[in-house]
Symmetry: D2
Subunit: 342 residues, 4 copies
């Protein structure tokens, strides 16, 4: 921690602050400058609580050097985490690139089974489908909830596909974890800390989406909750952030994918459907995610997007998804041979 004093701070101010730091159990080091003095704080093993200093009138600024997360940081865990999703499927590190696809919402057994069979034929290992749907308006379709979970469970049993669904409440952890292979925390719940804590107590893998206006630090802080409670199987998912630009549903923050990979050992995937909100933009941004080093993508598809109960405008037709998958495969095989991964 570094404490920057006002240029009007007196020698006595400096002495008082040094005393306070000593009382806090740390060692102060004064750095006198031409215009103002700064004081370094030495000896902390982690985040320093600065409450005893914050109101000192002689202090201009307090700069924290230690980050508010540790378990998820690559600093102390340099090796990539590989998250097991099923018996043979993993994500992260040098695992093959992961593809997850499926409808925004589970609408019926027929819709889900049709999608699952299609994915199985293509070799896509994970089916997504929302049972609990967080919707801005209570007048919109809210998902089949428990009924949707049952359908997901049936489909995975019948097809052998892995299944991921969003969880929206801590009290659902037990029931949801019993019916699906992977849990998803949505953007709106990224800082639902009770929910993070609960999914930290189980071992099922968790896909943690970035909040609409979450900084990378806050996102990693949320992942830290899950790890700290005992569950190391976290997969980050970039899904676009909210900015002033409304021509796309969100702003796809693709550049942070290689940055996040430097900051944390956790895998990171990309959701081109929510990041852009437009079917035409899903294909190019999904391919871009491969190029910038994502470990996978999660794509919305629907047997009949024109009649989807939610997010139809960003869901791919089966045929479009087939074409995307072919292009992804081609790019991945090309990349392995020739492109540097950051």
């Amino acid at each position: 921690m570094l404490i920057v004093l006002h240029h009007t701070a007196t020698v006595k101010d400096v002495e008082n602050i040094k005393k306070t730091i000593t009382k806090m159990g740390f060692k102060p080091v004064a750095i006198p400058g031409a215009e103002r003095t700064a004081i370094g704080v030495i000896g902390n093993q982690g985040w320093v609580d600065d409450s005893a200093l914050r109101d000192n009138k002689a202090i201009q600024e307090i700069i924290h050097v230690t980050k508010p997360y540790k378990l998820v940081s690559r600093d102390f865990h340099p090796k990539d985490t590989v998250v097991p999703l099923g018996k043979k499927i993993t994500v992260g590190g040098t695992s093959p690139f992961l593809t997850i696809a499926g409808p925004c919402a589970v609408e019926s057994g027929e819709q889900l089974m049709k999608t699952a069979r299609f994915l199985k034929k293509l070799g896509v290992p994970v089916l997504r489908g929302g049972a609990y749907k967080p919707r801005t308006s209570p007048h919109s379709f809210q998902g089949l909830r428990e009924g949707g979970l049952e359908l997901l469970d049936e489909v995975r049993k019948e097809t052998g596909l892995l299944v991921v669904t969003e969880i929206v409440s801590p009290e659902h952890v037990e029931i949801v974890a019993g019916k699906v292979d992977i849990l998803q925390i949505g953007a709106r719940n990224m800082q639902n800390f009770d929910l993070l804590t609960e999914v930290g107590k189980i071992k099922k893998p968790v896909i943690l989406k970035r909040g609409l206006s979450a900084t990378i630090e806050e996102w990693l802080g949320s992942a830290e909750y899950i790890l700290l409670n005992g569950n190391p199987n976290v997969v980050l998912c970039e899904r676009g952030i909210r900015t002033f630009e409304t021509a796309t549903r969100n702003t796809a923050d693709l550049a942070i994918i290689p940055l996040v990979r430097k900051m944390t050992h956790l895998p990171i995937i990309f959701d081109p459907s929510h990041a852009t909100g437009k079917r035409d933009l899903v294909l190019p941004t999904a391919l871009a995610a491969i190029v910038v080093g994502a470990h996978g993508v999660m794509v919305e598809i629907h047997p009949d997007p024109e009649h989807a109960l939610s997010d139809g405008a960003q869901s791919l037709h089966f045929k479009e998804f087939g074409s995307l998958l072919a292009q992804m495969k081609s790019l991945i095989s090309f990349k392995k041979q020739k492109l540097t991964v950051l």
Copy 2:
């Protein structure tokens, strides 16, 4: 709903779209223009599901005229809602201006009682205090949780003050509602729809904070969840939004207070502590809130901010709060006589 066609749309495209609208149960009205045609949709009683149209290649844009909320809209409920908080205390309409104050987090019985007695002496009717604390890092103080609720309950019994605390999980509704007078939904949970639904099932008043990056429409959509489930006692609370500017903790969006009052009949209060994050800015923005027409303010105070376990930098000392209250009283009495409320 208005459907704007591409300038390349053919007569046949127009006919097809009109047929689809008719099948949806509404009436289409074509509006031919010099460059392109638009089609109006008539006959809907509320929000129209546009999924059957979204993928039509001849359509350039679909514009919804009806809003995704109705119960909270002033359109169909022109009279101000007055929310009863206790036997004699109300907020909204022409109720006297409301002041809520207290520490960010409940830390101890002594801290809470000291604050409560101070507030009672000043005539402030509502004490705030967080038992469950949502924190970015799991390594930060998480609140006393159930222990904090007990302390709040003791204090309200002893002092007669009303007590408000944040609720973070649907499964806590029963226990929290049993110990406090008013529930608060924090910014990070504004779209925790299961939580909104649960607090909609009780009758206790709910303070609903605006999300960090929530539009007014989304905020009102969240309030709609509470009303639709049966609880009309919602108080909105503007607490600053996230923008590119980091000189303040958030950007206090004071201008939307008179705008929200035109859009909804619900009361709206302002939280100058979170909106600015700086003690020096709490006083001027709290006064500004009175001027723009807020129904109240919620302010963080602490007997010893320098040693607060959270948000010390934005918490007022008792003396500072006393001065703020005096200035607020003076401004309110002035305003009643002379200032037009929008």
Copy 3:
């Protein structure tokens, strides 16, 4: 300046960095910590160019403590600047609260004179009116340009009002400065550094609007250009920033007014018309600006807003402005006696 090293930095890394700092002419002070070392840089008289260090792999972060501006900072110029606008009119410090009003664009001699006479009757000292209009679309009205300047010059001669107009190009400085009393740099030109430099070479007062997405630091950096070139007569003007919220034209950042007053000695005024974009919100936010400590307001009015060639939706009718002025006067007189200015 503080240099934070990676936790993997070696003793040799530390030595190398210290040598580089010494070569730069400064003194390094190592601050060894439990997890990582930091190095303070001492002896600089201002902003340090860190280019020789930026690429060192052992460095995690470089933190600048000195700000990129100096002349505009209150640090070294604690006393408020009072800017003279005309013979008797000043703004800043304890000068009376300033009101500027007038149409967005100068449209005709009649429109301008009508407005000027109305303002004179009310005692408003400064008339605003755009001769050069920056418009998003080239198909929109671009202002009367030189013809508009002539009209402003005539009106000020006939009425004795001071006149302010926007300047958009460095080559216009001479002609514009010859026709008006105060120059305005608009939000879109806040970082038009050639223009800032040119208006720095004259002595006429300059109103410098904040850019749509400018931080306070960037805004003060732009003011520094004007002062550094010799013109101390700068008045800052907050006019709203661009955020995700589109319910208002911009987001009025009222909370930064008291903050900016702490950071700089320059006066600051508020433009409620552009900050909100809605006539109904001009009144409440103009009053709020008084409460948070602005030195003045600049308001758009028009004799016939329904037929204004630009910004009609945010321009007040004369009658509305008369009412606003009465309320402003009342609030100002109240405030002088009773409200603390931050």
Copy 4:
């Protein structure tokens, strides 16, 4: 244009609005709905000035369907524009992918010539280098200005490379256009409309960067200024937008590249250096730009980034750029064969 009325609007209100529209020279078409009436406006050939309607109390909202630009729109000019940069080099349409590279600022003849020779050897056709540098602080290096132009002119004569430099003031158009092949309008000047107008009067190609907080519509509106004044040779350049996220210098808005290509016939390139601000992120985002369909990239390189006078942290070493170029070539050749371009 569509006019949505309040649900309280009377039959008389509707009649009045229809009369006003008729007076404006257009034809009104009423669309009565269950809750409220809307009125379509027919017969306009372009953007409608709505000033005569904006203040009508019966109107809830006015929705413009026609865009404020026309010449740059693909609607009326479906074929890609191919911009000639030199005798053999073009950008846009099916032209080969364009690479531009060079230092942020021209610092010396030696630095520039060294860079030019390196680029020539690699076959890179265009050298960038700033002579006029817009800098936040007046205390930072401002560029060699006219001296820099001379150096650029010498280098292009000696090496045959095309040269691009930023222009910051309308009065520089003649001198700059005489010394370089391509002009660049920087992000801070995207709405410097006098500058846009002046570069519209010459025929040299213009690279128009997106403003820090410019919407796509505003950006295209700025391009429209150049085309309307007679210069069709405009190349758009996405360079990142300002958001709440500060981990990267800007937020690279890669997803809008395919979207912009649908909206306009103009070519669009990407600047990975400013978009990310971090050397490590330049490579992955430059490759991503190829994948999403950009027509080229503009990259900052420097013979000695550690001692660059500006933007060193985002400038590539020669060796790094060589590696980037090799990977770009490989990806482009791969893409031509196998990847669908949107």
